[in-house]
């Protein structure tokens, strides 16, 4: 079994919560591995999903240098296992709330490379009509409530999405991604308390990449054991090896099963690392190069391919095919973004209010 370290499981000390009432459907969560999908195939899918994010973002770097993409761009490279592993256990009816470091979440959720790339180009065909850019990807049809660039700003929103689902008798889960830095904001703590108090179907997916911009975890948190602190709100909380897609998937599955069974919010501390700077503007002077290299040695993509190889899966052919598909997909996305129209300035005031044009 590959769950590197299920780490500590600290259950809440609070009184057990009553099981959720009035859930109309209680869809059985997928088994491990997903029923009907052989383990080998499943791993190849995880691999492809991670590689799609990696290659997409590598292309973004080139396009940023070529000034095709502007604004703030925050790369997810190194953290792919988190988005991909968590997404595996979510259904299309579940809701996702993300951050400004969100290309991975968006692509894993199934928003096409074409729609994301067009958004980065600021084109009308982008998933936010060109108005959001890299930090504000949205897709209502996929219940992807997008990129918030105010750190921790998505958390209260996620609590509300979860609350609505429960009030409407749906057995949906809301998953909110946020960082270790966000964990220091009041909005995290207020939301954690609210969610636990109201027993909300909320998955708090904390991407602990050890830095909030230039500030290392130990210099932003007096107690850096985030899972333990989350548990103090009265919710199950685990730390997970976030460099291992299968470990993430397994932990997320367990959490989501608990949430669907009505046991309220769960917290996952996904221990990961960003291989690149905080954003394109960041000279990255605050990290030891050796530290970065150590983490690169745990690259989630290599980790999975190594494991596949060890298990005798023909990974090299698989990789070749995956790479070919992804290259085509991204080439096509770039081509389409290049050709796509820009929103004319006359349309500036669209979408300010729903009923009227502008004001």
């Amino acid at each position: 079994m590959s769950l590197a370290r299920p780490a500590r499981t600290r259950q809440a000390t609070a009184a057990p919560k009553p099981a959720q009432k009035s859930a109309r459907s209680s869809r059985a969560p997928r088994a491990v591995p997903p029923a009907g999908r052989p383990a080998a195939r499943h791993r190849a899918d995880l691999l492809e999903a991670m590689l799609r994010i990696r290659r997409f973002e590598e292309r973004c770097v080139e396009l940023y240098s070529a000034a095709k993409i502007r604004g703030f761009v925050h790369l997810y490279i190194g953290e792919e296992a988190v988005a991909v592993g968590v997404n595996e256990v979510l259904t299309p009816e579940d809701a996702v709330v993300s951050t400004y470091r969100e290309h991975g979440h968006a692509l894993a959720r199934g928003i096409t490379a074409e729609a994301v790339m067009a958004e980065m180009y600021g084109k009308t065909t982008g998933c936010s009509g060109g108005r959001g850019g890299s930090m504000h990807l949205f897709d209502a049809s996929r219940r992807f409530y997008g990129g918030s660039a105010i750190v921790a700003g998505g958390l209260p929103l996620a609590a509300g999405l979860a609350l609505a689902g429960r009030m409407r008798g749906q057995n949906h889960v809301t998953c909110c991604f946020f960082g270790d830095g966000a964990f220091a904001e009041g909005e995290f703590h207020e939301t954690a308390n609210l969610a636990a108090l109201w027993n909300l179907p909320l998955l708090l997916a904390c991407e602990n990449n050890l830095y909030a911009m230039g500030t290392a975890l130990a210099r932003e948190h007096a107690q850096a054991d985030l899972a333990m602190r989350a548990a103090s709100y009265g919710m199950p909380a685990w730390a997970v090896d976030g460099m291992d897609a299968e470990a993430v998937e397994q932990a997320a599955r367990r959490a989501v099963e608990g949430i669907r069974a009505g046991t309220g919010p769960h917290f996952l501390e996904l221990r990961t690392y960003r291989f690149r700077a905080h954003s394109m503007y960041d000279p990255d002077r605050y990290r030891d190069k050796a530290e970065v290299e150590q983490w690169k040695a745990r690259d989630p993509i290599n980790r999975l391919t190594d494991r596949m190889r060890e298990d005798g899966q023909p990974v090299d052919e698989e990789l070749e095919q995956i790479e070919r598909r992804i290259t085509e997909e991204i080439d096509h996305a770039v081509e389409a973004a290049e050709k796509a129209p820009e929103e004319p300035a006359e349309n500036l005031l669209r979408h300010v209010t729903s009923a009227r044009q502008g004001g």
Binding site: R70, G71, E185, G186, T215, R219, A345, L348
Partner: protein, 331 residues
């Protein structure tokens, strides 16, 4: 600004601000700087680069992401005799600390019957122009200028970046300093001030006789560019830099309008309820009979600032918009 082609050492707005902070830290041991990434990282816009090494982590203090807590802590420290300079990365994030700024910093003196002055300085970046989209681009200094009890500054030149901080720290009340993100790279020769820099007066950045272009902060370079363009067309524009957004220098505005009889207000904030609206109302109150044309306003479009370059440009005041507004007033 600053002659080109000569060997004069150039200073950037960013460096000028850093020098001002350095001077404050050197000259008063009650002063300390705190905020997200001000120390190790050197400030998200590089303003405080090198200060941690010079003054140490007690006085150049990195904070966790917790705007409400560290701004509130700054207010508390000010109450207890310190002179904190609190940096908030951008005005957009200051909304998490708005409660502390409004309900504590701005009101404690009055609510306590005059017992508790709050000598804090809070600096933050404001404004758009770098395709950072709606959560990183807004100009909310006008909201802060709405609040009695605080002083609001908008240094728009290298000189003001260098010299407004000391009097701000000397002010017994809270002072907010708004630094437009597009100004940090502004470079020129930093001349010693000819007279002490005060926080009460607007400045005439370019004298003129035909029309007053009244602005502040990141819009000043645009207004100056517009004035150049107007000059080429035979319109002699005066450019007024408000510098202090609260309290407003009504006399300077009235004097300029008395000279030119026409006014264009340029403000990167949204038009509705803006500082431009306030100044316009004051002109109507004080200078109504001086006016030869309706007051014109050039503000941001009433839309969350969009990412796409063309849309962002269309949303923001541009020199061409200022020139067009001036023509409407003059022609």
């Amino acid at each position: 600004m600053g002659a080109s082609g000569t060997a004069e050492p150039k200073t950037t707005y960013r460096e000028a601000m850093r020098e001002a902070i350095r001077e404050a830290l050197r000259s008063d041991d009650r002063v300390f700087l705190m905020g997200e990434d001000v120390g190790r990282y050197g400030g998200c816009f590089g303003v405080s680069f090198g200060l941690l090494e010079e003054f140490g982590p007690e006085r150049v203090r990195d904070t966790p992401l917790s705007e409400s807590a560290f701004v509130g802590a700054g207010i508390g420290a000010a109450l207890a005799g310190m002179r904190p300079i609190v940096e908030i990365m951008t005005v957009n994030f200051s909304l998490l600390a708005l409660d502390q700024i409004l309900n504590n910093a701005a009101t404690l003196l009055h609510m306590s019957g005059g017992q508790l002055p709050v000598p804090i300085v809070i600096r933050m970046t404001t404004g758009a122009g770098r395709q950072l989209a709606a959560q990183h681009s807004h100009s909310l200094e006008g909201w802060y200028a709405h609040i009695p009890g605080i002083r609001v500054l908008a240094p728009a030149t290298i000189e003001d970046a260098r010299h407004m901080l000391a009097p701000a720290l000397a002010d017994p009340d809270p002072v907010l300093i708004f630094e437009h993100g597009s100004l940090y790279g502004l470079a020129g020769e930093l001349r010693p001030p000819t007279r002490p820099v005060d926080l009460d007066h607007a400045a005439i950045r370019r004298p003129g006789t035909d029309i007053s272009l009244i602005t502040y902060g990141g819009s000043l370079p645009k207004a100056l560019a517009a004035a150049d363009e107007l000059a080429a067309e035979g319109v002699d524009a005066e450019v007024i830099d408000l510098r202090t957004l609260r309290p407003l220098d009504d006399a300077a505005v009235a004097a300029s309008v008395a000279r030119t009889h026409r006014a264009v207000l340029v403000d990167e904030a949204w038009r509705t309820g803006s500082l431009a609206a306030e100044v316009s109302a004051r002109i109507a109150e004080r200078s109504f009979y001086e006016l030869d044309a309706p007051v014109e306003r050039v503000c941001s479009a009433e839309v969350p600032i969009p990412y796409a370059r063309r849309l962002e440009e269309a949303a923001l005041p541009q020199s061409a918009d200022i020139v067009a507004a001036a023509h409407r007033a003059v022609d």
